[in-house]
């Protein structure tokens, strides 16, 4: 008997997506999701973006989520469809990006029979998702989807996967709207709702006492929402405390501001790393003491009292022991710190840390990001600097691939707002940037979206150019082409006696012709005199553009803290020699 209050699993999924205000979904069809694709065919609230490989869908969903602050959604079929997204799910887990992945599964009665395109999806994705589900009963589907969105976006965000067998997509049940779902608190893990007043008081007391304080800000500040960034700016302006950000923290605080020391870590600024090393008070706002940031742990910021604000309890005392911590939302906590200072009329302005800023300004004089641009060959650093100068007046989003170009982008492109910088940090996924740009452009159709790429990374997901062309997404691929896997080559030069084993990318395509064959536009700059024109042309064309920028093949990314070295043991140029003892120890590290 047909009941008009009952819907198929596929329809329930679409109703739930509508309820969750999802308007864009990235996906690729296949046998086990055909009922869902049939439901997509008959509706118009949801825009489906057909990618060319599932890896593209998951990175696009990440780019969409990072650039919009919303949950990114993707839809893939069983078996190879879902195994292709494993890298992207892991990427989203490492970088705390809220995405929901819907995967089809073979019909329930075939599960366990090694059916065509069957795989143990929940088993394979268990360690690379925040949570996952296999929905065997259609009556549980509504609740599961709503819980998945809640989990993906609460606390420390992350990827959630829902595996739906084909028979469940056909089976019928009632739809339960989001407003009728009562979430169980222990499953959502949203962190404490109350600010820890003791923490706030201790922090303000320490700020008053300290001589050399520093803010160390990470991606958690981004995930707490744009308000967190506003509170942070207010607090930094009020206290005159220098601030350094991690790779993911870029944009949480204006990069051009005088209080900003830029990025810290392995390829961070000299002044940022030295300040971390010499500070007496470290205020960690949503960063996780990653090995790329801390360098050698036993020499990490030896003299500081450490405060840590992080919604994720497992990030506290994991790599570095801290003196005070709070497991609360950053916006809420920073707001409380600001109002505590205001309401108690605490005079911090008088404490302008003159000596501390004097030290920092001396370190700044090293000009660690200095490079020599000659008259012919383009220096990659210069290419990014010009890209920044020529696009900074526009509403710009930057994505990147992974490698030297990514670090140069982090160093030379300055961000003044959060959510404008979309990069693969924790997992370091080559091939991330171009599909992420597709996602970012879908979320921000009127903005300029540029993928700063290396030629090797770009080749990893090059098929997604077709997606950009199909949906008329005018993304720009800005390739720093040095014909090498640059970062691999750099490590081989520094640690393996310049034996460039397999890091030269031979037989590269002609990127200009390649763009044309995809019905995109190709531009090229072979030397310095062509650079500005190429950038201006790229930006002015309202279509997908691949800009092939030929850069110095042997340029290395500095400053650099080699693996196994400490913050104060930075190499500033190729003329700096590494301590040989560190070099041997560092070789075995990543």
């Amino acid at each position: 008997m047909d009941n008009e209050n009952e819907f198929t699993g596929a329809d329930i999924l679409l109703k739930a997506l509508k309820d969750q205000e999802v308007d864009t979904i990235f996906g690729y069809p296949g046998g086990a999701v055909l009922p869902i694709y049939d439901a997509i065919f008959g509706q118009n609230f949801l825009k489906h973006v057909l990618v060319r490989q599932e890896a593209g869908a998951v990175h696009a969903a990440e780019g969409y989520a990072r650039s919009s602050g919303k949950v990114g959604v993707l839809l893939v079929t069983s078996g190879p469809g879902v195994t292709n997204v494993v890298t992207g799910l892991t990427d989203a887990l490492m970088d705390s990006i809220p995405i929901v992945c819907i995967s089809g599964q073979v019909p329930s009665h075939l599960i366990g029979t090694d059916a065509f395109q069957e795989c143990d999806t929940t088993g394979i994705t268990r360690p690379c998702t925040k949570h996952n589900y296999l929905v065997k009963d259609v009556s549980k589907l509504s609740e599961t989807i709503h819980e998945a969105f809640k989990i993906a976006s609460s606390g420390r965000p992350g990827p959630v996967l829902i595996d739906i067998p084909k028979d469940v997509q056909f089976a019928k049940s009632k739809y339960i709207p989001k407003k009728d779902i009562i979430f169980r608190e222990h499953r959502i893990k949203a962190g404490s709702k109350k600010v820890d007043k003791n923490f706030v008081q201790e922090l303000v007391n320490h700020i008053k006492k300290s001589e050399r304080p520093i803010f160390y800000v990470g991606g958690g500040c981004l995930n707490s929402g744009p308000q967190a960034s506003q509170e942070l700016i207010k607090l930094v302006n009020k206290t005159n405390i220098p601030i350094t950000t991690t790779l993911h923290g870029l944009g949480c605080f204006p990069g051009e501001d005088k209080s900003s020391l830029g990025m810290l870590g392995m390829h961070g600024n000299y002044e940022a790393n030295l300040a971390m090393n010499k500070c007496d008070l470290m205020i960690n706002v949503g960063a996780r003491f990653d090995d790329r940031v801390t360098g050698r742990l036993d020499a990490f910021s030896p003299d500081s009292v450490k405060f840590h604000i992080d919604i994720d309890q497992s990030s506290i005392n994991k790599n570095v022991k801290v003196d005070f911590h709070t497991n609360t939302d950053i916006t809420m906590t920073l707001k409380e710190i600001n109002s505590f200072i205001e309401s108690n009329n605490i005079e911090l302005e008088k404490k302008d840390y003159t000596n501390w800023w004097g030290l920092i300004n001396d370190w700044r004089k090293k000009e660690c990001l200095h490079y020599e641009q000659g008259e012919d060959i383009i220096k990659p650093q210069h290419a990014i600097s010009r890209l920044y100068d020529l696009t900074t007046q526009k509403d710009t989003f930057i994505t990147t691939e992974v490698g030297q170009h990514q670090m140069w982008a982090a160093q030379y492109y300055k961000f003044s707002k959060p959510n404008r910088w979309i990069t693969s940090g924790g997992l370091g996924t080559m091939g991330f940037g171009m599909p992420a740009a597709v996602g970012a452009q879908m979320a921000n159709p009127n903005s300029l979206v540029i993928d700063i790429a290396g030629e090797a990374s770009f080749l990893m997901n090059i098929q997604e150019i077709a997606t950009a062309v199909q949906y008329k997404l005018p993304i720009k691929i800005f390739i720093l082409n040095n014909e090498y896997m640059g970062m691999v080559r750099q490590w081989q030069e520094l640690l393996h006696g310049s034996r460039y084993s397999e890091s030269y990318v031979d037989a590269l395509p002609d990127f200009k012709k390649l763009a044309e064959s995809f019905n995109a536009v190709g531009v090229r700059a072979k030397n310095i005199s062509e650079l500005d024109d190429a950038i201006n042309e790229m930006v002015s064309i309202d279509r997908p553009v691949i800009a092939d920028i030929w850069v110095d093949k042997k340029e290395n990314c500095f400053p650099m803290i080699p693996s196994g070295a400490a913050h104060h043991e930075m190499l500033l140029s190729k003329y700096d020699k590494e301590n040989p003892e560190n070099q041997e120890k560092g070789k075995v590290l990543v």
Binding site: R126, R187, K189, D312, Q313, S314, I316, N317
Partner: protein, 178 residues
């Protein structure tokens, strides 16, 4: 410790890292055990013993008890990681409670050849107050319960008897805080 022990104790490991018994309350749902076991193997933690059973049918809750080895810092990290898992209600290190009780159960089957061995076995069984489950002509099955340490000692003592064959099963420790 004799190399013929059926229950060799990794003395060095014990010295460097503390033994902890973790008590975890979870939603009884498919995959929860795999999540927890995967967390341990994926992050390189040890599982010395593991026990899981439904303890609250009405609320659909299971209690998982895991014995693990690690420095205090590692144990705290394990607890924090466990508490991040969606179906986990709570994870407690029993050692951190002011009062907690532990028990384990062991079934041990002993095959012997002669009367002298039988007498020695009987003697140890009596000292440790183990319960006879079954006794045949040259085979005996005991049930012994108590702390894991007590069971270890019983098994060590049994192993001082030469020429017997021992087969056993242990539940792993379970514990409860007060």
């Amino acid at each position: 410790m004799s190399s013929t022990s059926v229950y060799p104790t990794p003395i060095n490991a014990f010295k460097q890292s503390k033994r902890s018994v973790l008590s975890i309350i979870v939603d009884n749902e498919p995959g929860i055990l795999a999540r927890i076991v995967g967390l341990f193997s994926g992050r390189g933690y040890n599982i010395e013993a593991l026990n899981v059973t439904v303890v609250d049918i009405k609320n659909n809750l299971s209690r998982i008890t895991i014995e693990t080895l690690g420095e205090e810092k590692v144990i705290s990290q394990i607890i924090a990681q466990l508490e991040k898992l969606v179906p986990v209600h709570s994870a407690t290190n029993l050692a951190n409670l002011s009062e907690s009780y532990e028990a384990e159960i062991c079934l041990v089957k002993i095959e012997f050849d002669n009367n002298e061995q039988d007498q020695k076995i009987l003697n140890f069984a009596d000292i440790y107050r183990s319960r006879t489950v079954q006794k045949r002509q040259n085979i005996v099955v005991y049930e012994i319960s108590g702390t894991s340490e007590r069971i270890n000692k019983f098994l060590d003592d049994l192993n001082t008897i030469g020429g017997i064959k021992v087969e056993l099963v242990r539940s792993g420790p379970i514990g409860l805080g007060i």
